[in-house]
């Protein structure tokens, strides 16, 4: 965990209500794909947690959806502006459990953290398949970026305007075999995936947070192994420990 000032180098719309922001700053505290950062936005009290899409030494890439006043203001920030960010939050995905044929499944703004994850797994020589799900083609993003990494990509849209018509679970048969999976997305998607998958895997959860670093107990959940804080012992939980509410 580290607090640092980042400089925005790029902030652009990449799909309907979806923005990509690149920043320069100290990323040393980010150690695993699937971790998140907590961004201070002018005029708002609480920071906004955003999953890390990509990070390299000194470089941070975030993808976020404009859902309310906070993310709207974020989308209006200009290159050159500074942002106060807490980095290296949460446990992130455990890549050691991936096996040789991991499947990555993301829905909407659950897709971004899978990018860094795919990058790491592919660099380890794994054969990576990715399923991304969106409401409609206009909201889809990162298909070619995943392909550029060398992943096999399957896109599902609820209205059928791109790729397979339906939810990410409807793309499972097209994706074929996999030995393990990693997922990120809205809870209903994660729940459907939990039921539809036969192998073990890891799920990344969202919750409203106070601090993002374990102090306020605002984002607790029950698991097989006891109470966990989504921001600290999460956001990634193993399939076997999940207790759906």
């Amino acid at each position: 965990m580290k607090q640092a000032l980042f400089e925005i180098t790029e902030n652009k719309k990449i799909a309907d209500n979806v923005f990509l922001m690149r920043l320069a700053g100290d990323t040393d505290a980010i150690t695993r794909p699937g971790q998140f950062v907590n961004v201070k936005i002018g005029g708002l009290f609480l920071r906004r947690p955003i999953s890390v899409c990509d990070s390299e030494p000194g470089l941070l890439t975030l993808i976020y959806k404009t859902v309310g006043g906070g993310t709207k203001r974020l989308s209006e920030m200009q290159p050159g502006e500074k942002a106060d960010i807490l980095t290296g939050l949460g446990n992130g995905y455990d890549v050691s459990l991936s096996g040789d044929t991991p499947l990555l499944v993301g829905g909407g703004v659950g897709v971004p953290p899978l990018y860094k994850l795919a990058k790491v797994l592919i660099s380890q020589g794994k054969h990576v398949k990715v399923i991304t799900g969106f409401n409609t083609a206009a909201e889809a993003f990162f298909t070619k970026e995943f392909r550029a990494l060398g992943a096999e990509v399957f896109v599902a849209t609820a209205d059928g305007s791109e790729g397979i018509k339906g939810f990410v679970t409807d793309a499972l048969s097209a994706a074929g075999e996999y030995g393990y999976f990693y997922a990120c997305g809205p809870e209903p998607m994660l729940k459907a995936l939990y039921r539809a998958t036969k192998t073990s895997g890891q799920f990344s959860f969202e919750e409203r947070m106070g601090c993002g670093f374990g102090a306020c107990m605002g984002c607790s959940c029950r698991t097989v192994t006891g109470y966990k804080r989504i921001c600290r012992e999460g956001p990634v939980l193993c399939k076997e420990e999940i207790l759906w509410r």
Partner: protein
Amino acid sequence: MAVKSTSVNLCGTELANPVIPASGTFGYGYEFAEFYDINVLGTFSFKGTTREPRFGNETPRIAETPAGMLNAVGLQNPGVDKVISEELPRLAKCFEKKVMANVSGFCREDYVYTCKKLAECEQVGWLEVNISCPNVHGGGMSFGTSAASAYEITRAVKDAVSKPVIIKLSPNVTDISEIARACEAGGADGISLINTLLGMRIDLRRRRPLLANGTGGLSGPAVFPVALRMVWQAAKAVKIPVVGMGGVSSAADVLEMMCAGATAVEVGAANLVDPYACRDIINGLPDEMEKYGVNDIKEIIGAAL
């Protein structure tokens, strides 16, 4: 700049400075020790602890508000036994001072049981008895909103322990002075206030309260003027030390609280937004004191009464 003295004396124990992270915003301390050496603090008030372990309320437990936040955590904590067997030893590794033990309960026996256990711990310097948590149905709320029950709990805890007892008051009352006087009459060594103001947000998509609990406690800079007023009223009503809190987020806020009658000042929500908040406030005190011609911070306690 003349040398500045920031030390204060809280119920017989000297604090290097009046800044105390508030219960529920600082965990059991060690999360913050990853950010800075928490020994710069006078002390801190740890997560509200109950007799039995509690999960607390369902989520969402947190909502944003203008210049503040709502929380309805519902006293999640591992229970007093685990706090003593696991949290305090872990804290000992990063904090060498006395800690303030924050205690909640749902009946007089709960309070007495938990306070007694914690008072036996060498690390505990003060008991802060929360009679005001607004989040738990049938819980602390009732004690803090009636002078009679505030007196009863204070008396019961005081009879059971010899360490200083600070009663933490609810602001959701018509007359804070009356409650403060009841605690003093019950033998309290100090009072702390304000706990959170009861508030609410509505999720317009679902047309339902945003928090799973319905209502939650408002904290953050938004409540500072209300907190300051209540500290001022309470300090006028009693002779025991008052610990002021509610929306404090700067060294200047600390000084305002002290002018209003606070001997020490707790900092809450600010820790959640900026983990370095208390360290930075402490570091900022000498300059802020210089600005207003204060050399010894004790001299401004109650200056505006």
